[in-house]
Amino acid sequence: MSLDMYQEQVLDHYKRPRNFGELPGATATAHDVNPLCGDEVTMHLKVEDGRVADVRFQGRGCTISTAAASMLTAWVKGKTVEEALAVDRGHMERMLGIPVGASRVKCLMLGPHVLRLALGKGEAGRLEG
């Protein structure tokens, strides 16, 4: 554990989250919370021909959950549904460029969890980590 977690790129996504807001014409929307801290994320998707054509998210949370959701939306745009569903902890840590300690895994995985919900997988209220 070090202050690496708060490197510039992560803080930048926290302070200026990408793809933030509503998505007119969304084909799927999902929402969930991290019961540990009340953080919440909503994902809006436009899925076309088995690909994530567009994505926006909303919510409130800590640096890790907000930056992770923001980076995830930037990455997932244009990916196939299969690729989107394959996102795991290692993938997210590489995306953020930092390992995340056990006490913050739920923060990291809130965005991917809600993305899976929007894609019809996973179970609301069952956040891994």
Partner: protein, 414 residues
């Protein structure tokens, strides 16, 4: 700002806590999470170790020297705790796993299996810990009890005048925390007990954050039940106490059947042992009880008035330091005579998780989250707070390190 001093007799306290010598992330450990669980002095660690090394045997029924020693220590601890609380007798002290189990025991034995009728009212407050909410939800769901809640004022103190509206002829129980684990507010439970008794209702006090931190005299408070945990008062985990008035405990049904709680068992029927054994089914947590006894000895030596003064001084010092920092909001009353050493705060623009993570890098342990008080978080309109809490081993230097940590948090997010 004037540097707060360390109360006489407390200079050596840190030496008794082995864990305070360790480092975290290469920094000295600054432990500010005693409201969650306290650290343990070697006197308590040794007492538990001694129990297993020298006289471990099942209490009460062993007809040999070892068992007699174990029973003497076990019941001796009960006597110490009774004295500590000013209970009328040791038989009013029931050992449980902790505050949660103690309150559940009353909710079950007095509420669910007892005389609560549909429409009977239980009055709580919005500042309770989940452990003093959920057991009453059971009584509501199973018996049709009606639950009512006293609100807080903006300064985090209870709106005492609401008791006069909420307590009615249907009120059977008034349950209240003596000290909030989020706001630090010390409630006037003596007055609450009086209001409850005026209509013939009982008063239960959640003392998880009070018995460890200031003198508690159950006779003076006038309450009927009082619940607390050992691990928040220098003792081991998994041991706690329900204190109750003898005549009420005698009428109450047990929660666990088997072991020490029986008088006679036949095929298909059984009768109960006397209070408090009636409530201590199963082989008890003997080492935990002995450890809690050692913790009570330790606190008694320090003097609970001194413990209170020490924490009050630290709280005053910390409140003044926090008030001087722009962008930091402290929850609860600024009146240190009405609050314990629990400080919930938020740093503008920074999530409480991030506050805790950055402070952790500095070796500082604070808690971030809802503190098992989601109804209070809703009332305060925040998802979570950061919380620093003090105990006998904390010093003004710990507060200084917290303040430096907070400046660091603000720099990261500047």
């Amino acid at each position: 700002m004037e540097q707060a001093g360390v109360l006489r007799g407390f200079e050596q306290v840190r030496e008794d806590f082995p864990i305070l010598k360790r480092q975290v992330h290469g920094k000295p450990l600054t432990y500010l999470d005693s409201a969650a669980t306290s650290q343990k002095p070697r006197q308590v660690i040794d007492a538990v170790s001694d129990y297993f090394s020298r006289y471990n045997a099942n209490v009460h029924r062993a007809i040999y020297a070892l068992g007699e020693e174990a029973t003497r220590e076990y019941e001796g601890a009960r006597e110490k705790i009774a004295d500590f609380l000013h209970a009328r007798s040791a038989s009013e002290v029931v050992f449980t796993r902790g505050t949660t189990e103690s309150i559940n025991l009353v909710a079950y034995g007095w509420g669910v299996k007892g005389a609560v009728q549909k429409g009977d009212e239980i009055v709580g407050t919005v500042m309770e810990h989940h452990s003093n909410h959920v057991p009453w939800h059971f009584v509501k769901d199973l018996k049709g009890a009606v639950l009512k809640y006293v609100d807080i004022a903006d300064d985090g103190t209870l709106r005492m005048e609401q008791y006069d509206e909420l307590i009615t002829g249907r009120t059977r129980l008034v349950t209240v925390t003596q000290c909030s684990n989020v706001l630090g507010t010390i409630n006037d439970v003596k007055e609450v007990a009086k209001k409850a008794h005026a209509v013939g209702a009982l008063c239960l006090v959640d003392a998880a954050q009070s018995v460890p931190h200031f003198p508690v005299d159950v006779q003076d408070l006038g309450c009927d039940f009082l619940a607390f945990s050992g691990h928040k008062m220098l003792g081991p985990t998994g041991i706690g106490v329900l204190w109750g008035r003898q005549e009420l405990l005698e009428k109450m049904e047990p929660l666990l059947g088997g072991g020490e709680m029986i008088r006679e068992v036949h095929l298909g029927t059984s009768s109960w042992n006397d209070v408090p054994a009636k409530f201590e089914g199963g082989t008890p947590n003997m080492a935990g009880v002995v450890g809690l006894g050692a913790a009570v000895d330790y606190l008694t030596r320090l003097g609970m008035d001194n413990v209170r003064r020490h924490e009050r001084d630290l709280t005053k010092y910390a409140l003044e330091a926090l008030a001087a920092v722009k962008g930091v909001r402290v929850f609860g009353t600024p009146d240190v005579d009405r609050r314990g050493g629990v400080l919930s705060f938020e740093i503008e623009g920074v999530h409480p998780h991030d506050v805790a993570s950055i402070l952790d890098v500095e070796g500082i342990c604070v808690r971030s989250g809802h503190h098992c008080a989601q109804p209070l978080m809703e009332r305060l309109k925040v998802p979570a707070t950061s919380r620093a809490s003090f105990y006998v081993y904390n010093t003004p230097e710990d507060v200084d390190r917290l303040m430096a940590g907070i400046r660091k948090v603000q720099q990261v997010f500047a």
